[in-house]
């Protein structure tokens, strides 16, 4: 054991943090090293000195006053709204279900089914809405040749009284095709829809790629919700290629738009793909001196599972000036 290690172990020993084996090793070193033995005396003296500033038990009056003040504050809080209680209850139950795999699987299946149905109906509504806008634009949609109209869903079934007639109301999917330049609002709307709703990762990849390219070229990214779509894709898309393209598209705006910066910081912390996390760290270069950025990088430098990412974070932290 060298003296530097011994000095640290002396402190740990003074506070009972050494294992028996480490304590025994330390004693052997101290027996042979007068400097370290002196160091131990100094640490023990420090402990004795520090005891001159003792911890006092709070007296009963202080406890009572504090408790009374707290009770008054709690009594004056408004009761939690019903949706807050339900939201917290759901979150707690979902966390609890981690210990019940079968129930969790069932819940996922039921939830996925309900979510798919709900999402499908939502997509239908949006498609119908966008189709209406597309038809009003300069681009003329053309029905796909020879594609049969699929039935999307049945909305109601009614039997006519005193009759054999049955009325069925249903919605149909009518495949359409639209063509136009990226400047066209209708095309942009369809691309944004595709980025959020397309079931195929390839389609989402293409649409996010086009939107990102438009943003990097510096036009068409201020309004129209392009940035929101890219941020949503970065946060939620399951495909890492799509998320990477979204990140590229947001890069020019990380300094001017705090929402973009926060979105990239989330990616640094939570993205499952280490390449995305690394790319996100690089994207933060224009804002690497910001306090919130430094806080996130400090967390990542200490706790990310990937050593390259920890090193990359430390490198950025060492480059950026320390905020006083």
């Amino acid at each position: 054991m060298n003296c530097e290690v011994a000095h640290e172990r002396i402190v740990l020993a003074a506070y009972g943090e050494l294992t028996d084996e480490q304590a025994h090793e330390l004693e052997r070193h101290l027996a042979a090293c007068p400097d370290c033995s002196h160091e131990r005396q100094q640490i023990l003296a420090l402990q004795a000195l520090a005891a001159v500033h003792p911890v006092i038990e709070p007296d009963a009056n202080l406890v009572a006053r504090s408790r009374l003040r707290l009770e008054e504050a709690l009594d004056s809080l408004p009761p939690k709204r019903w949706y807050e209680r339900i939201g917290q209850s759901i979150l707690r139950n979902v966390a609890g279900l981690q210990a019940a795999p079968l129930a969790a699987v069932l819940l996922l299946v039921i939830g996925a089914g309900a979510g798919t149905l709900g999402g499908y109906e939502f997509a239908q509504d949006r498609m119908a809405h966008v189709a209406g806008r597309v038809q009003a634009a300069s681009v003329q949609p053309k029905p796909a040749e020879e594609a049969p109209a699929e039935i999307a869903n049945i909305s109601s079934i009614a039997r006519q009284p005193n009759s054999d007639m049955i009325e069925v109301r249903y919605n149909q999917l009518v495949p359409q095709r639209a063509e136009g330049p990226l400047d066209d609002p209708a095309i942009r709307q369809l691309l944004m829809l595709a980025s959020e709703n397309a079931s195929s990762a390839g389609v989402r990849d293409d649409s996010v790629g086009l939107l990102a390219a438009a943003c990097r070229a510096g036009h068409a990214c201020k309004g129209d919700g392009f940035r929101d779509v890219l941020m949503t894709a970065l946060r939620y898309d399951k495909n890492e290629g799509v998320r990477a393209k979204a990140l590229e598209g947001l890069e020019p705006y990380v300094a001017e738009d705090m929402r973009v910066r926060d979105s990239v910081l989330e990616a640094v912390l939570y993205d499952s793909d280490p390449r995305i996390r690394t790319a996100a760290i690089n994207v933060l270069e224009p804002v690497e001196a910001d306090t919130s950025v430094r806080q996130v990088l400090s967390t990542v430098a200490n706790s990310d599972h990937n050593p390259h990412i920890r090193n990359a974070s430390r490198e950025v932290l060492s480059r950026a000036p320390v905020i006083q």
């Binding site: 006092i56 709070p58 707290l70 709690l74 707690r92 200490n302």
Partner: protein, 204 residues
């Protein structure tokens, strides 16, 4: 035979902590009040020793438990409730230390709620009826030197030293409370003790 109210109270006291937390999460004010009673002494002790002021300690107590009440729904039993509540308290204490880093004056005393001094050293000095005034003064001066040395630590060093030396917590627990690793807490303790040694060199 016990009165029903007393029996219920005793049952509440014996209820395992997890049950209390779940009840508090479900909205039971009585369960939350019981949790407060279990931890309030430790919270006040820590806040009082760090801030040196009863008023500041009361403020930290108030903020800590109000936060706990507001966010108890987010507690997921991933750590102990003790660690969770201490994490809230240490963050509030760190904020306080950062704000008042240079405001400390006579630190061998603690201020009560009306701002009057409570002489801490007199409560630990010799109880014999003929005390030595010179010795009392020495201890007072020594206390001031200790406090001045503690004030020269960074807020985090101060906090780690406080939790380790004065509150007696394990370094691993300290790491969890400060949202860092045991290794970082250890290194912070080394820095703190080294600085204190240098500050207090020559004192006996």
């Amino acid at each position: 035979m016990d009165e029903p109210g007393r029996g219920q109270e005793r049952q509440q006291t014996r209820a395992p902590e997890m049950e209390l937390i779940r009840e508090a999460q479900a909205g039971s004010r009585a369960a939350f009040d019981e949790l407060v009673r279990q931890y309030e002494q430790q919270v006040l002790r820590l806040a009082l020793h760090l801030t040196g002021s009863e008023q500041d300690a009361e403020d930290i107590y108030q903020e800590a438990f109000l936060k706990a009440f507001r966010y108890i729904g987010n507690f997921r039993f991933e750590c102990s409730f003790y660690t969770w509540i201490y994490r809230i308290v240490t963050n509030l204490c760190l904020d306080q230390l950062r704000r008042k880093k240079t405001r400390r004056e006579d630190q061998s005393v603690v201020l009560d709620h009306s701002g009057d001094e409570i002489d801490v050293l007199s409560s630990v000095s010799d109880n014999r009826s003929f005390s030595n005034p010179g010795k009392e003064l020495d201890r007072k001066v020594l206390g001031e030197r200790i406090q001045a040395a503690l004030n020269k630590l960074t807020p985090r060093e101060r906090m780690v030293f406080e939790l380790k030396h004065y509150q007696g917590l394990r370094l691993r627990t300290i790491g969890e409370m400060l949202n860092t690793t045991e290794e970082t807490a250890k290194n912070t303790l080394f820095r703190a003790t080294k600085k204190l040694r240098n500050q207090l060199a020559g004192l006996r």
